[in-house]
């Protein structure tokens, strides 16, 4: 078996909030708790879950855009958390991020050309005419005209800006791209174009993706493997076809049933969804999902289920399969 490109073990990120006067109360928000995943070279790994489940924070923590509090992150064998100075910059070159909001992800006062050549200059990859040549090639690769080079972000639509963001992420020729909800801010028709572009780039450049999304159909189409997150933890993980077609974890099932079914003949009554996502500041004891779970057993409120490999493929953290 090949060495994984990215391997994450027990990643956690807690935020502490101090509120109140005169006696401030400290609350710890466990945004990401014990998240483990591996991404192989060229593989697209989906991370799904509802809003606030910590999927974006997990993605940022493994890039060290927020400092993780615990766990082990290795990129091609190299310890990401221990990297400092030059080592960290070298690592950053190999993993890039595409953001959700194409309107805030570009510097409004920087021309597209400058935004694309600056990373090359900083990393000493190319400068001057050579950098411009590369930037123009990137623009072409993401489907933008060469005259975009001298223009500014405000002259572009959301979809075009997202293409620019993708081109910028490619300037350093990374091996892994973390795509944080890359299409959720776009119109549906534009979503499809940008997704096609991402898949094309993936095939042509052999890029690995960590694809963060709440849209199951997008993940089904784009990814090879997927992990379902709930309240900062991964509850189920496995090949995308199996996990999204026959989810084992009750939460993954609920998530699948809640996503729209295009064929009216197949539509049934929507399942009843119990309660709301609990606060990550006060997660319930035992399995974090038990207050909303229809299969909850006494054991669920006491012990936290561990991720267990399943014969169907992948692994699941649920006492039903214990």
């Amino acid at each position: 078996m090949t060495e994984p490109l990215l391997s994450v073990r027990g990643l956690s990120k807690h935020f502490t909030v101090r509120k109140g006067f005169p006696k401030p109360k400290t609350t710890v928000i466990r945004a990401v708790e014990d998240v483990s995943l591996t991404i192989n070279p060229g593989e697209a790994f989906g991370l799904v879950g509802e809003s606030g489940c910590g999927k974006s924070t997990a993605a940022r923590a493994l890039l060290r855009l927020v400092e993780p509090d615990g766990g082990d992150v290795r990129f091609a064998g190299q310890d990401v958390r221990a990297a400092r100075g030059k080592d960290l910059i070298a690592l950053r070159r190999r993993m890039q991020i595409v953001f959700q909001d194409p309107y805030s992800s570009l510097d409004p006062r920087q021309s597209i050309g400058s935004a694309l050549t600056e990373p090359m200059r900083v990393h000493g990859l190319a400068r001057g005419e050579e950098a411009k040549k590369r930037a123009l090639a990137l623009l072409e690769e993401v489907g933008l005209p060469p005259n975009a080079y001298d223009r500014y972000p405000h002259e572009f639509s959301g979809g075009q800006r997202q293409r620019i963001g993708i081109a910028r992420a490619l300037t350093l020729e990374p091996e892994l791209i973390v795509a944080d909800e890359p299409v959720s801010a776009l119109d549906v028709s534009v979503q499809a174009q940008v997704l096609l572009l991402l898949r094309e780039l993936r095939q042509r450049r052999g890029l690995a993706f960590l694809f963060v999304s709440h849209d199951l159909s997008v993940v089904r189409w784009f990814c090879d493997r997927v992990a379902v997150m709930y309240l900062g933890r991964i509850v189920e993980e496995g090949p995308v076809a199996r996990v999204l077609a026959q989810p084992l974890h009750p939460y993954a099932r609920m998530l699948r049933d809640a996503s729209p079914e295009p064929d009216p003949a197949l539509r049934g009554a929507l399942p009843r969804i119990l309660g709301e996502i609990p606060s990550a500041a006060a997660p319930p004891p035992g399995c974090p999902f038990h207050p909303r779970c229809v299969h909850a057993m006494p054991e669920c409120s006491v012990t936290l289920p561990k991720l267990r490999a399943m014969p169907e493929g992948g692994s699941v953290a649920c006492h039903l399969y214990g």
Partner: protein
């Protein structure tokens, strides 16, 4: 996709919008005339501003002495033009220094945040609590009435407001994804602050600068008036006003003309600054 629209800088757009307003245009004309007068003073002035001529002392305005003469027989008009140089150089220098220092303090403080930000901004608040004239007076009294010291004194009084003006948008900008993208691309903090945050807040700093120019002119004139300005015989507007006070009953023009000059320059700068501020105010932009 065909028409290539080049983006004018926000400051230039603001200037265009501001000049659509007649008050701003009038202010700009006043300031421009004074600047031109100061720059070309040696070619315009009919007399040497420091040449004393006891015989023609305290003359009323005439064809020869357009604005009259002072108690040493020096030409008021010539002295006013040379005095404008001091006013403009001191205030422009002071504002330039305080934009640079205050801007850096504000950006770094807002960017770093946390306890550092708290301490720096408390220090700025202390500085802000001094009225500019009092602070200027303390510094000039300590360092001596030299041109450079005047610049330092007035710059010191304007650093805190520029730090405040730079800090607020920096705090907003650092949360934007393009700053995070910069981190992901391996940019240094210095690069992010000076190449990505600064261009986005520059227009706000410049607008603030034009408003504070007026204050700087006023403080310089006030310090000269109480004798802490550039030393005589170099003509300064504040100093001329004070000199004129001794003869205010028999030769009122001695105090009136420099006073009017100060008034016009401060008024003109304020009109320009107000116009620029309104033009960059997002709430008023679409009216």
């Amino acid at each position: 996709m065909s028409a290539t629209v080049s983006q004018p800088s926000p400051l230039r757009r603001a200037a265009q919008r501001a000049l659509a307003n007649p008050t701003t245009t009038l202010g700009a004309v006043i300031v421009l005339l004074i600047v031109l007068g100061a720059v070309f003073a040696p070619f315009i002035t009919p007399h040497d501003p420091t040449e004393q001529d006891i015989i023609s002392r305290l003359q009323a305005p005439s064809a020869d002495y357009w604005l009259g003469t002072d108690q040493f027989g020096r030409d008021i008009f010539s002295r006013l033009l040379y005095g404008a140089r001091i006013s403009l150089v001191v205030s422009l220098g002071a504002i330039a220094v305080s934009i640079v220092i205050g801007g850096i303090i504000g950006m770094v403080s807002g960017y770093v945040g946390g306890k550092f930000d708290l301490i720096v901004m408390q220090a700025m608040d202390v500085l802000l609590s001094f009225p500019s004239l009092i602070l200027g007076l303390i510094v000039v009294a300590l360092l001596g009435p030299e041109l450079v010291n005047l610049v330092i004194a007035i710059a010191l009084t304007a650093i805190a407001p520029f730090a405040r003006i730079a800090r607020a948008p920096t705090m907003a900008l650092k949360e934007r994804a393009f700053v995070e993208a910069g981190h992901a691309l391996g940019y240094s903090h210095t690069r992010i602050i000076f190449l990505h945050i600064l261009p986005n807040i520059l227009s706000e700093l410049m607008v603030m600068g034009s408003l504070w120019m007026a204050t700087a002119v006023r403080v310089e004139a006030s310090l000269s008036f109480i004798g802490l300005g550039v030393k005589p015989p170099t003509p300064t507007w504040g100093g001329m006003t004070r000199d004129g006070f001794e003869n205010i009953l028999d030769a009122p023009w001695l105090a009136i003309f420099p006073g009017v000059a100060i008034l016009l320059l401060v008024l003109g700068l304020n009109m320009v600054g107000d116009g620029l501020r309104d033009a960059t105010d997002p709430k008023l932009r679409n009216e």
